[in-house]
């Protein structure tokens, strides 16, 4: 996602009225794409898509099948499953990032998309944080403490690390929520967080 362009949301939903409603709610803030079934959804999917809203029960490819293809293509987008029944914990174990139970209200949809974008933001901050910590550790391993005390590079690095740490604790409320916790860990195992 670049700084200036709005985030891209892909809606995969076989009921045109429903898809239209979601689009109306979201189009002010996001670039919205619509696919009427799994195949169309996969065609519209590329690395610019940030969030996918995926209906679970569709004719043709099911939501689960679409999800596994998305994960295989390793695109790093976040996927929310839209379902008619209240799912349980297993949904997260299956690899979805979030779920929404129909009927969905506008506020709920906005909250979910915002939360998923924040998770992506958290992942990239964490990646940046790691890179700096590693750099710092290398300096510490190769220089004496006197050299470190004199090094402007080391000082700047230490400051940057402190700033990023604060940034991380401000993002996602510092991982207060169980779903955020598990989804973030799954991102690490997939190795797709970069």
């Amino acid at each position: 996602m670049s700084e200036s362009d709005p985030p891209v949301v892909l809606i995969v939903e076989d009921e045109p009225d429903v898809a239209e409603t979601y689009t109306l709610w979201l189009e002010g803030e996001y670039e919205v794409r619509m696919g009427q079934n799994g195949d169309e959804g996969l065609e519209l999917l590329d690395e610019t898509v940030d969030v996918v809203l995926l209906d679970r029960m569709m004719p043709g490819l099911s939501g689960d099948e679409v999800l596994s293809q998305i994960r295989e293509r390793d695109l790093g987008c976040r996927v929310a499953m839209v379902t008619a029944v209240e799912p349980d914990f297993d949904i997260l174990e299956m690899g979805f990032d979030a779920y929404l139970s129909k009927p969905i209200r506008s506020g709920q949809l906005h909250d979910t998309v915002t939360n998923l974008l924040e998770r992506s933001e958290y992942d990239s901050l964490l990646q940046e944080y790691y890179a700096l910590v590693e750099k710092q550790a290398t300096l510490e391993a190769t220089k004496s403490s006197a050299e470190l005390a004199d090094s402007d590079e080391y000082e700047a690095l230490t400051e940057e690390i402190a700033e990023l740490r604060d940034g991380l604790s401000d993002t996602l409320g510092g991982i207060e929520d169980d779903d955020d916790f598990i989804a973030t860990l799954r991102g690490l195992s997939n190795g797709d967080e970069e």
């Binding site: 174990e93 510490e140 391993a141 690390i161 991982i175 916790f181 860990l185 690490l188 190795g191 967080e193």
Partner: protein, 219 residues
């Protein structure tokens, strides 16, 4: 605040802020696991919840050990996340202790789900304070690279911070290069360093939890 100084006598450990995560680092056979189990058992005797994430001990052995150490331990007070990959997939009760099986020490999502369920169980039994031990990061590092383990530690520390728990994570300092230890350390609020003392016995020092690192001290 958590008082860990009754187990390890350091002023720096007398008032540990809820949400702190501490790395326990030392060579093999210096009693790191015993130390963190002692800290959990000490809390459990005062009514704190306990969560043990283990990559080496059978859940049944952990349950038995805590029953031995804590007379009157209530089952709902302890949750064990067994990452050896040898148990079944379903949660089970061993001696009244809830056990969550994870397929391998490299299955971070599974570990996260196990910890979430254990925390939920403790919360539902009305415990808002607790201590979590993860034994050991060294095993996890043989399954996953240090970048992933670092991120895992950071995310788990954040989760424990939100829960107001204290976390204790062991690492075998002899099993990894200096740079790896240096990186992993950064994911924690504090460090308990253990080493063999010249002339026998062990000594420890505490870093990051008070303004100044403590001196080495016999334990």
């Amino acid at each position: 605040m958590y008082d860990l100084s009754s187990v390890l006598e350091f002023d720096a450990l007398a008032q540990v802020r809820p949400g702190s995560s501490i790395l326990v680092s030392g060579p093999a056979m210096t009693g790191k696991q015993q130390l963190v189990y002692d800290i959990l058992a000490d809390g459990a005797r005062e009514g704190d919840g306990a969560v043990v994430v283990t990559t080496s001990d059978k859940a049944a052995d952990v349950a038995e050990e805590f029953h031995d150490r804590v007379p009157g331990l209530e089952g709902a007070q302890l949750g064990v996340v067994d990452c050896r990959g040898e148990g079944g997939a379903d949660p089970e009760l061993i001696d009244g202790v809830s056990v969550h099986q994870v397929s391998s020490p490299g299955d971070l999502t599974g570990i996260g789900i196990g910890i979430t369920k254990a925390l939920e169980g403790l919360h539902n039994s009305g415990r808002d304070r607790g201590r979590l031990a993860l034994v050991s990061l060294s095993t996890m590092l043989t399954y996953t690279d240090k970048k992933t383990v670092f991120k895992f530690c950071h995310v788990l520390s954040s989760r424990l911070d939100a829960a107001g728990y204290v976390g204790l994570f062991t690492i075998d300092s002899g099993a990894h290069d200096e740079q790896t230890i240096q990186v992993i350390k950064q994911a924690f609020d504090g460090l308990i360093d253990i080493r063999e003392a010249t002339g026998g016995g062990r000594e420890a020092r505490v870093l990051g939890l008070a303004n100044e690192p403590t001196d080495w001290q016999h334990i």
